[in-house]
């Protein structure tokens, strides 16, 4: 039996260090980087055959609805569930004071501070929509819903907070007195601080100083598929259908439930997912209702599916919500000397990144300080929606564009003047690229040059508020930039198995489909690395076959999974070639001779799924002929009595893995070299305040393109979602009652097909990424960066800064002094 050689192992380990360029790229690629129409999920999705967790129905399945607090802050004094229990069709009512619920910890639920141990059902709510009191399992969703309305509760309503700045005042009511009895600063004040240099020195060096603040109100992910999950007991084994982006971590958590369930007794299904863009990726949050479903299933003996309704998906928001304060000093030539920023962050329960993180990552600014203060208010928690980089990206855009505006400079010039890394100038950056084996290309300049040409920046950029169009509207154009990021820490395991009979390859690695067509992308890598036809490489990520790909799923996937697939493919290819040159077995009738006798593995190669001799290409064998059938229909089928080899190989399988700590490792940070630049053109109707986004150009240096159509999809898709966030999206809370007023898709507006003009998508390939082939991910970036871009575009149109997102027509008219 062959094993992969030592040099393969060494090569793999070398690639695990994450700190240098990829030194082992393929010389020829047939599929990587090409515009390939095939989507592995395409036919299933277009024809309606793709199943989502919401579509799952099992024989005898009950439907569970959960009671959610109608108040932003309230305690249950008394609860009567007797009427609900008597309703025909109700099979089980789970109460918050059930002994098993009382003892259930480390479950998670949609509570404010979900990172901490808590019960799945509470008696106190600290936000509207918190799971409290009871869960009902019934024969239909409608009966369960009706039963919830029959539950009678005496509530003690408590005072509440909605605004983070007001809540940080010592006189404000306590948002969460059970846990934070001495104030509303989550984690006792500053949660994350980032600084370098000397702030005082930076202000002393400045020719000019400006101070401003801005605000981002609540907005949310609006996942098309509502939160849901299905639990079925098969004896003492659990079978679970999850709408979740962290499948393996969910399974780990489930294994702790009910006194412990062996991981090998838990079968997880990860159907297609009606995306949640990170909104429901937080592990604890929706495991609470799943635990309730599991307990109800245990007690009723039937499978149970829990379902949220549309409004209940609005209880939680994106991580940029908060109020930001910035003070910036700069020289008259556009060089920024210092930035000092702080953020009052709404219910951010992650170790949130500082508002100046991207200024730190991207610029030569020598003196920087940023503080994030997570403030507890009585709203849903805020989570990385598309990305936790929203606050630092928003800050970077507004700081750099404001400096350009103050000096009357072209913002693209200010960008290039301040480009750098972690306080170092471009000379340092060039040296770092060289040291790490990267090409000496200047990513930001390339992105800016291509973007400016595409949008005709030099013709169109003008002094703010000076260009009225023939249609009467004011014309504006804006620009922003940052780096491409791929920072999540995590690990990935992948395997590839060659199937008997036809010799096709199956990728094995369970993951949550988030729609970016990552599955086809991994197949492109595997096909090129193996030398297979693309149609001979397939991948079903929905079932567990022993491997989990990068988790968190949807963050940093390409840079981590890409490596794991490539490692596995390279090991497997070597194994195939060794197998083809080795005797595969021996029986009493004789041995099975090599498929390529008297040949060494290095004499062979694979192309179009055919193994061939490099010196004599006519000497070849298809993968199908090489592997053949197994069992009695396999090696013995053709000529058993001769005892000769008639087509048989050892089982062909290889696995590999990759780990990534991420760029923000404080011990040994790796500098970001790939940049992105975005340009937006708008028209503003000064009579109505309406903004028309007429054109966007996205320029993304992804290092190396693997799946071109997928990358472009993230560009235009991210741009539209970004504009939607910037123009329309706001979860409105009633200041009197504290409840959400627009928790539905008629009143919470998201962009439609009519809301944007054309979007230009440009992909730059400098090879400056740390991923395989020099790539860096793109999926989180554009929808995160583009929202901030509307502010400088509006400034250019009307000459007024609007620092209150979303930028609505009313805010435009107010800025113009018309209301």
């Amino acid at each position: 039996m062959s094993t992969h050689p030592q040099d393969q192992t060494e090569r793999m380990l070398e690639m695990l260090d994450n700190l240098e360029s990829d030194k082992y790229q393929l010389k020829e690629c047939k599929f990587i980087g090409e515009k390939i129409p095939r989507r592995i999920d395409g036919l299933a999705k277009a024809s309606g055959q793709a199943d989502y967790t919401m579509d799952i129905q099992l024989p005898g399945m009950l439907y569970m609805r959960l009671l959610m607090s109608p108040y932003p802050h309230a305690k249950i004094l008394k609860m009567d569930t007797s009427k609900a229990e008597k309703l025909p069709g109700v099979r089980y009512v789970l109460r918050y004071d059930d002994p098993e619920v009382m003892e259930a910890y480390i479950i998670g639920r949609n509570a404010v501070f979900f990172g901490e141990p808590d019960k799945p059902l509470s008696g106190v709510a600290h936000m509207e929509g918190e799971l409290v009191g009871a869960a009902v399992a019934a024969e239909t969703e409608a009966i369960a819903e009706q039963a919830l309305s029959l539950i009678e509760i005496d509530w003690e309503e408590r005072p509440f907070n909605l605004d983070p700045v007001a809540a940080s005042d010592p006189s404000a009511p306590l948002s969460f007195p059970e846990r934070y009895s001495d104030g509303n600063h989550f984690n006792r004040g500053v949660y994350d601080e980032l600084s370098h240099g000397d702030i005082k020195k930076g202000f002393a060096e400045a020719d000019k100083v400006v101070e401003f603040s801005f605000k981002r109100t609540a907005n949310t992910w609006v996942g098309p598929e509502r939160p849901c999950g299905v639990w079925k007991w098969n004896g003492d084994c659990a079978e679970v259908w999850l709408k979740h982006q962290r499948i393996h971590l969910s399974k780990s958590r489930i294994s702790e439930w009910f006194g412990g369930i062996a991981m090998s007794k838990i079968e997880i299904h990860s159907p297609y997912q009606g995306a949640s863009f990170g909104g429901w990726c937080q592990i604890d949050w929706n495991l609470g209702p799943l635990w309730c479903a599991a307990l109800a299933s245990k007690r009723s003996g039937r499978p149970v599916k829990y379902i949220f309704n549309r409004r209940e998906d609005f209880f939680g928001g994106s991580m940029d919500e908060g109020t930001y304060f910035v003070k910036v000093g700069f020289k008259n030539d556009g060089t920024i000397t210092v930035v000092d920023a702080s953020l009052y962050h709404v219910n951010a329960i992650w170790p949130v990144f500082s508002p100046v993180l991207h200024l730190h990552d991207n610029t030569r600014i020598a003196h920087i300080r940023g503080q994030s203060k997570s403030i507890s208010v009585n709203k849903g928690h805020t989570v990385p929606t598309r990305c936790e980089m929203l606050p630092p990206v928003l800050t970077q855009t507004l700081v750099l564009d404001r400096v350009a505006a103050e000096l009357g400079m072209d913002p693209t010039e200010v960008a290039l003047k301040n480009d750098g890394c972690m306080g170092h100038d471009m000379e340092w950056v060039r040296e770092e690229k060289k040291k790490r084996g990267f090409p000496g290309r200047d990513s930001l300049k390339e992105c800016i040059d291509q973007g400016k040409a595409a949008i005709k920046w030099d013709e169109k950029w003008h002094k703010p508020g000076t260009k009225r169009l023939p249609n009467g509207r004011m014309h504006g154009i804006g620009f922003t930039w940052t780096h491409e990021w791929e920072d999540s820490k995590g690990s990935s395991e992948f395997a590839i198995r060659i199937e008997r009979t036809d010799g096709t390859a199956a990728l094995l690695g369970m993951g949550a489909d988030n729609g970016v067509d990552a599955e086809s992308t991994y197949c492109q890598i595997a096909a090129d690395e193996l030398g297979f036809r693309l149609e001979d490489v397939n991948y079903n990520p929905h079932v567990y076959r022993g491997f989990y790909r990068m988790t968190p799923d949807s963050s940093s996937n390409m840079s981590v999974n890409g490596w794991a697939v490539r490692h596995a493919a390279r090991i497997l290819k070597q194994k195939i070639l060794e197998s083809a040159t080795s005797p595969s077995s021996a029986t009493q009738r004789g041995s099975f001779q090599p498929a390529f006798p008297d040949t060494k593995p290095e004499d062979l190669d694979i192309k179009d799924s055919v193994i061939f001799s490099k010196s004599d290409p006519d000497r070849k064998m298809s993968m199908a002929d090489f592997v053949r059938l197994d069992g009695a229909g396999g090696p013995f089928a053709d000529d058993e009595f001769l005892g000769t080899r008639v087509g048989w190989s050892e089982p062909l399988f290889a696995s590999s893995y990759h780990v990534q700590y991420g760029a923000n490792n404080p011990v040994n940070p790796r500098p970001h070299f790939c940049r992105q630049a975005h340009f937006m053109e708008i028209e503003v109707d000064t009579e109505t305040g309406e903004i028309f986004v007429t054109r966007i150009v996205n320029v993304n240096d992804v290092g190396k393109v693997i799946n071109r159509m997928s990358c472009e999809g993230q560009q235009y898709g991210g741009s539209i979602m970004g504009v939607s966030r910037a123009k329309f999206e706001e979860v409105v809370h009633d200041p009197v009652t504290g409840v959400i007023l627009n928790g539905n898709l008629l009143d919470y507006k998201i962009a439609t097909m009519k809301d944007l003009g054309p979007i230009g998508t440009i992909l730059v390939e400098t090879g400056l990424g740390y991923g395989p082939y020099g790539l860096v991910g793109i999926g989180e970036d554009i929808a995160t960066v583009v929202p901030s871009l509307l502010a400088p575009a509006v400034y250019n149109a009307i000459g007024k800064w609007i620092y209150d997102f979303p930028i609505t027509p009313a805010k435009i008219l107010k800025a113009l002094g018309k209301i």
Partner: protein
């Protein structure tokens, strides 16, 4: 006694009689040869060219009937109140939001779902795949069905007509730019196949 007399109601036309014999005589005379009357809540639908008979509750929507009861899960519920287009089906030739119409109102109607469109080999399916007019895919069937309804009436739609037809369909992944491309490609194939 009066209550009992009123129970002799003709199931075809609702006329009342004093006795069982009176009712029988009426039915024989007025409704001879007609098929048996259907029970209350019983409806007949043509779904993807096949006849279906259902016993439905008055509160069931067309979406619930077809997605949950029949198990054709292509149509999706995204907004639950007529705002998103994901549950679109074609009813008697017109695109309809199936979450906003009661199943019982559809008695006798002709319903097309994405499954039927795909089974017919409509070029929209291939065009949607080729042009990546999908990401997470949850809303995709709604777009395909709405586009099919457009192409049924207009085999050469302009970009503006496509955008107008599809502007009621929400896609959170924001795949919007690809849909007019896919619809035009499918329209071209339909025309050249004629």
């Amino acid at each position: 006694m009066n209550r009992e007399i009123k129970n002799y109601v003709c199931p075809y036309c609702g006329e009342t009689y004093d006795s069982s014999d009176g009712l029988k005589g009426h039915v024989f005379k007025a409704h001879k040869g007609r098929s048996l009357p259907t029970a209350e809540g019983r409806i007949r639908l043509i779904i993807n060219k096949s006849e279906h008979i259902f016993q439905v509750e008055p509160s069931w929507t067309l979406y619930y009937l077809i997605h949950d009861k029949l198990g054709l899960t292509g149509a999706k519920q995204f907004c639950d109140r007529g705002a998103c287009g994901s549950c679109t089906m074609i009813v008697d030739g017109k695109p309809v939001l199936s979450c906003m119409i009661l199943a019982i109102e559809c008695d006798g109607k002709n319903v097309e779902t994405v499954e039927g469109i795909a089974a017919d080999g409509h070029p929209l399916i291939e065009a949607y795949v080729n042009n990546h007019a999908m990401q997470c895919g949850y809303c995709t069937p709604g777009f395909v069905v709405t586009s099919k309804a457009l192409l049924d009436h207009n085999q050469d739609p302009t970009e503006e007509e496509i955008v107008e037809a599809l502007s009621g369909n929400l896609c959170r992944c924001s795949t919007y730019p690809q849909h007019p491309i896919a619809v035009k490609e499918a329209a071209g194939k339909l025309r050249s196949a004629k």
